[in-house]
């Protein structure tokens, strides 16, 4: 009984990391997600023991909460810039503040993969 429960415990943060890293290839994404699962659970336990706040129940809550936050972050996409849209339309990265209007365009216009430098130029070309 413990083994499926343990798998479930690790699956939650791992799934959250999986959702977060949408741009990677499937194998790399899976491996990194497993590393992220370890990191979240081990990190929670370490913080609890170091902060003198040991409570497995609250720890599980924290893991679930962290996973939810990570998964939510993955839903907040930075909108990709349409090919000839004006420069002002592009929102800064950082994810959370991305306007919802432009987020919709991600789904409307499935485009081929962006070039590497497309992501980078917003910082230094303005």
């Amino acid at each position: 009984m413990s083994l499926p429960l343990a798998l479930l415990l690790f699956a939650a943060p791992a799934a959250a990391w999986w959702l977060l890293l949408s741009g990677l290839d499937p194998l790399g994404r899976a491996v990194v997600a497993s590393a992220g699962g370890f990191a979240v659970i081990a990190g929670t336990a370490q913080v609890m023991v170091m902060a003198d706040a040991w409570s497995p129940f609250r720890g599980v809550l924290a893991v679930v909460l962290l996973s939810a936050v990570l998964a939510a972050l993955s839903r907040v996409h930075r909108p990709s810039r349409p090919p000839d849209a004006p420069r002002e339309a592009s929102a800064p990265p950082g994810g959370h503040q991305a306007p919802m209007t432009s987020a919709a365009s991600v789904h409307d216009l499935p485009r081929p993969r962006r070039r590497e430098d497309d992501d980078e130029d917003w910082l230094f070309k303005e």
Binding site: M1, S2, L5, A6, L9, W17, L20, L21, S22, G23, L24, D25, L27, G28, V31, V32, S34, A35, G36, F38, A39, I41, A42, G43, T44, A45, Q46, M48, V49, M50, D52, W54, S55, P56, G59, V60, R78, P93, G95, R113, R114, E116, D117, D119, E120, D121, L123, F124
Partner: protein
């Protein structure tokens, strides 16, 4: 596992006659695997581990089992000889190998093997029970991350009995190591044979036994993840073929001769040993960088040596231009130094001299780690130790040869070279009771296995089946046609068979005393039930344990860690019936004094310290017959004795948990402010670096200028703490 498929592989329009042969050979390999597994496991039911001699498990394994292991090896090698990779079959073979090599002793013994593993259980149980740690009980409580992790997971899933976890941790850990290792392998410029053989070797060459439920095993997993993420997504984009050095002008390029050949070999044009890095967007790399930072923090809190190796391997990759995160080694180093200074203060403040004694004492480390471990031992145990050293030296030697062979082919394996050399940096660090050489071998394994595989399969891609008839190839018949891989596979098979034989010998070579029998555990249960307070365990040692660094070879302190004290009694070799010393020590322990002996412990004294084989039975008989001594628990495997009339004093109180033992100094509060700010600035600097185009790193200067004074302040606080706190 290969990233790029060969065009030949991808386009397979018509079934060729060789496909039929291929399918037949695949079926044969699968059948061999099933046959070998059955042959290995079925005779094991009748094995009597008690009959083992100083060579350990191998001395009682039936011949059929050993033949089964050989068949499993040959089945894998047959799969390697096939013209294309059969991934399902290869994965099945590696799973079987893990179960075979790392699960055989677990399947034979009722309890988890290896007394040290049981102490981990003690730490975990302590955290579960007291909800905190206690720095003064054991140095390992200074890095409690792993114990907290396991305690948390076990409590969260409602697993109260740790023994199945302890028992099956080694095969499980080895399987988990393969996950990040796979990611490291896939970015290398090599054939599928080299990669799968490296993964296979990683299981078969790992005889060190550091994969039990322990902080170092967990931290090693984090280390592999760390390296895998670095080499996959944080490489430079302009890793091209290396051009000849600038000093080589056009006219000197024509010159030949011995010296120039060496020059070319060293500095001539080379292909990188790694494939181009997989593409990832800046957003993904930002997330990965956060994960790397998290892995550093968790690794630092879990083990005292591994974060140093994470730092060093990252720095090494940066130096050879295989990692673009130039600031990450600084981040890792600052985290590590800060952890040591702020969190492990209880450990170092009392041992300042010892720390510097270990630092740079390389010669002594070498001696202790290798030769020093083989004095006074029985010939059989000494043979096993010698074989361990031979295997380690052969693996590393072949790895160096593999590196040279690849280099001779014009391939520059920098990642493998760095991962091979980095573990040596920990040699001068700490002496670890002479175990550091084993750890170094353990940390070299990922690179060493890869390079050994390169020795047999050095090509960056499969050689074509048909060569240009105008070019004369030496031994052309062997090197063309559908069977061109067979000579290399045959040579690799010989090595693999020897390695698996060596593994089964040395990994379980000390099984006579490394196994933990149910009675051993029962003996410690009995003691905790018989008294309420502190338990003073008196144990027999053939040599002075202060000089040889001995501990009882029992599952000591596997629970109620803080209640146990240990007092050695040096055995009077001439007269086993002389109990005066034992009784004297028991009196000093007060009401909670027990004398414990187990069969594993006695065998350890016989095999490593040269105690007479009949010493322990005679001592036990004398103890049972003595009127002053009461037998609390006794069977063939373990015995517990105590005084019939123990003195009422001393009766010390059970120590209360003392936490992490943090201490402050005048500058510490300032350090606690500077440190997070410094880490934040350094981290922001790396995030900025991800967003800069190549060649514009000067834009990082503002952050660098900000980081330097902060860094100096943190260093000053660390030095101040070290000087003030004592």
């Amino acid at each position: 596992m290969t990233v790029r498929q060969e065009p030949e592989e991808r386009a397979r329009p018509l079934p060729r006659p060789s496909d039929v042969a291929d399918r037949r050979a695949t079926l044969a390999a699968a059948a061999l695997l099933v046959f070998g597994t059955a042959l290995f496991w079925s005779p094991l039911r009748h094995v009597d581990l008690g009959a083992a001699n100083g060579f350990g498990l191998i001395s009682v394994l039936p011949g059929a089992t050993l033949a089964g292991a050989a068949v499993i090896v040959l089945s894998f090698m047959l799969t390697l000889a096939l013209p294309r990779p059969h991934r399902v079959l290869l994965v099945a073979q590696i799973l079987v190998l893990v179960a075979t090599l790392h699960g055989v002793a677990q399947a034979l013994e009722p309890e988890a093997r290896f007394p040290t593993a049981w102490q981990t259980a003690g730490f975990i149980e302590y955290i579960e029970r007291t909800h905190t740690v206690s720095w003064d009980l054991d140095a390992r409580f200074s890095t409690p991350g792993f114990f907290a992790f396991v305690a948390f997971v076990m409590k969260a899933v409602g697993q109260h009995d740790i023994s199945p976890v302890l028992k099956w941790a080694p095969p499980l850990t080895d399987l988990m190591y393969l996950v990040p290792y796979m990611l490291i392998l896939r970015v290398l410029r090599a054939t599928w044979r080299a990669k799968w053989f490296a993964a296979w070797l990683f299981i078969a060459a790992n005889w060190v036994g550091q994969d039990y439920l322990s902080p170092q095993a967990f931290a090693y997993l984090l280390y592999l993840y760390f390296v895998a993420i670095l080499v996959n997504w944080f490489r430079h984009h302009d890793e091209r073929t290396q051009r000849p050095g600038r000093r080589r002008s056009p006219e000197t390029a024509q010159r030949t001769g011995g010296l120039w050949r060496v020059y070319n070999w060293l500095f001539g044009p080379k292909d990188p040993g790694e494939l181009p890095a997989p593409q990832a967007s800046v957003r993904d790399r930002t997330i990965l960088l956060c994960l790397l930072f998290l892995l550093i923090l968790i690794g630092t809190a879990a083990h005292q040596l591994t974060p140093f190796l994470m730092t060093a391997s990252c720095a090494g990759l940066v130096l050879v231009r295989r990692c673009s995160l130039r600031g990450l080694p600084f981040i890792a180093g600052v985290v590590y130094a800060a952890w040591v200074s702020f969190m492990t203060v209880g450990y170092w403040s009392s041992r300042k001299g010892e720390l510097f004694g270990g630092l740079g004492n390389v010669f002594q480390n070498v001696q202790q780690s290798t030769g020093g471990r083989i004095s006074q031992t029985s010939p059989q145990t000494a043979d096993v130790q010698q074989l361990r050293i031979i295997i380690a030296v052969v693996v590393v030697g072949l790895a160096v040869l593999g590196l040279l062979r690849r280099r001779a082919r014009g391939i520059d394996d920098r990642v493998a070279l760095v991962l091979l050399l980095v573990p040596f940096s920990s040699f001068g660090l700490q002496n670890y009771g002479g175990e550091i050489a084993l750890r170094i071998y353990f940390f070299m394994l990922p690179a060493a296995c890869l390079l050994v595989a390169y020795l047999f399969f050095p090509a960056p891609f499969d050689a074509p089946r048909v060569r240009d008839p105008r070019v004369r190839v030496r031994l052309g018949r062997l090197r063309t046609g559908p069977r061109r891989h067979w000579p290399a596979v045959a040579a690799a098979s010989v090595f693999a068979l020897l390695l698996v034989g060596g593994f089964l010998t040395v990994r379980y070579g000390n099984e006579k005393y490394e196994q933990v029998r149910p009675s051993d555990v029962r003996a410690f249960d009995v003691m905790t039930q018989k008294t309420k307070g502190v338990i003073g365990v008196v144990w027999m040692s053939a040599d002075n344990p202060d000089l040889v660094g001995g501990t009882p070879v029992m599952p000591w302190s596997y629970r109620d860690f803080e209640r146990f004290n240990y007092t050695p009694v040096i055995a009077s070799r001439s007269d086993p019936a002389d109990l005066s010393e034992i009784i004297q020590r028991l009196r000093e322990q007060g009401p909670g004094g027990f004398f414990v002996t187990t069969r594993s412990h006695e065998d350890f004294q016989v095999l490593t310290a040269g105690l007479a084989p009949d010493f322990a039975p005679r001592m036990r008989a004398a103890l049972a017959a003595d009127p002053r001594i009461e037998t609390v628990y006794a069977d063939r495997d373990a015995a517990v004795y105590r005084l019939r009339n123990p003195p009422a004093e001393p009766n010390p109180p059970v120590p209360k948990p003392s936490g992490l033992g943090l201490r402050s100094s005048p500058w510490t509060p300032a350090g606690l402010i500077y440190l997070p700010v410094l880490l934040g600035v350094l981290f922001a600097r790396e995030l900025r670096r991800l967003r800069l185009p190549p060649g514009e790193t000067w834009r990082l200067r503002p952050l660098t200028v900000l980081a330097v004074p902060l860094f100096l302040s943190v260093v000053a606080v660390i030095v101040e703490r070290f000087l003030v706190i004592s």
